[in-house]
Amino acid sequence: MYERRVITKSEFHYMRVSLDVQNPAKALPVELTNVYFKQAVTAALTRLFGDIGGAMVAVDVLKYNEGDRSAILRVHSHNLVKLWSALTLTDRYMSRKCAFRVHQVSPYLMGLAVNSREYEHT
């Protein structure tokens, strides 16, 4: 007899996010490099969850694209809700109004490879 086992529990969740700033044509006071992007994410976490609470959520920026300010973030699965809520509730980056747009979330990195929303049919 065969037994089918499905293991879906993944330790991490991966998110593809981008930072939308108001008036993108106007230059930012500090250009958003990968370091500043990570700082924006951790600042969002500490604003909502405090020094202790924000430090408990370990976020990694796996890939960052400076052109369209999009990144792939990795977070432990039990911290996903905290990260997502912190990103949703951010309203400014260095005195400029901004918003984090979440494009894709998946427990597997391969899940971010294709996106049916942005797929262009030829």
């Binding site: 909502l48 405090g50 020094d51 202790i52």
Partner: protein
């Protein structure tokens, strides 16, 4: 059935600088409002908007003794973590600067906290009695203890001649 659970923290404000000297009543007595606001501010720093909101919904300062600097704080069982992790970072309450909050007891009912505090105070009285060296102050403490127990006239009662 989901129960409504609370945690009661029994805290003691310790002034490290004044610890060795005889404790006296502060000029400005502590109020529960001051305690609540200091705690809330510190929870906001440590746990952000989320922590301070959860704290402000569920937290009360239930009992305050400005003479012994003892405080009972009630908070719901989930958010009690925020308070518990923040307590070591509290350095000032109201006008009192440079303090340290000692957590004496954490209970689930105010009754157990009261029982603990009663026993704790009894032990503290014994310690205090040993510490006071000045004979007049000892006498003062002893008379006030006797008065509290309504045993003022116990000496005269004992020396009465027994009934035949």
């Amino acid at each position: 059935m989901v129960r409504f659970k609370n945690r009661y923290f029994v805290l003691e404000i310790v002034h490290p600088l004044h610890a060795s000297t005889h404790r006296s009543v502060q000029e400005q007595k502590l109020t529960s409002q001051e305690v609540y606001h200091s705690l809330k501010e510190e929870v906001h720093k440590s746990h952000g908007d989320y922590g301070s909101a959860a704290f402000s919904i569920s937290c009360n300062v239930k009992y305050l003794n400005p003479y012994t600097n003892t405080i009972f704080v009630r908070i719901r069982r989930g958010p009690h973590r925020f308070l518990a992790t923040t307590l070591p970072f509290i350095k000032k309450i109201g006008k009192q600067d440079n303090i340290f909050l000692n957590t004496l007891y954490v209970g689930a009912t105010v009754r157990n906290c009261h029982k603990f505090l009663r026993n704790h105070n009894r032990q503290q009285l014994a310690v205090l009695l040993k510490k006071i060296t000045h004979p007049e102050e000892r006498k003062k403490l002893q008379t006030s203890l006797l008065r509290a127990c309504v045993l003022e006239n116990v000496e005269t009662w004992n020396t009465q001649t027994p009934m035949q």
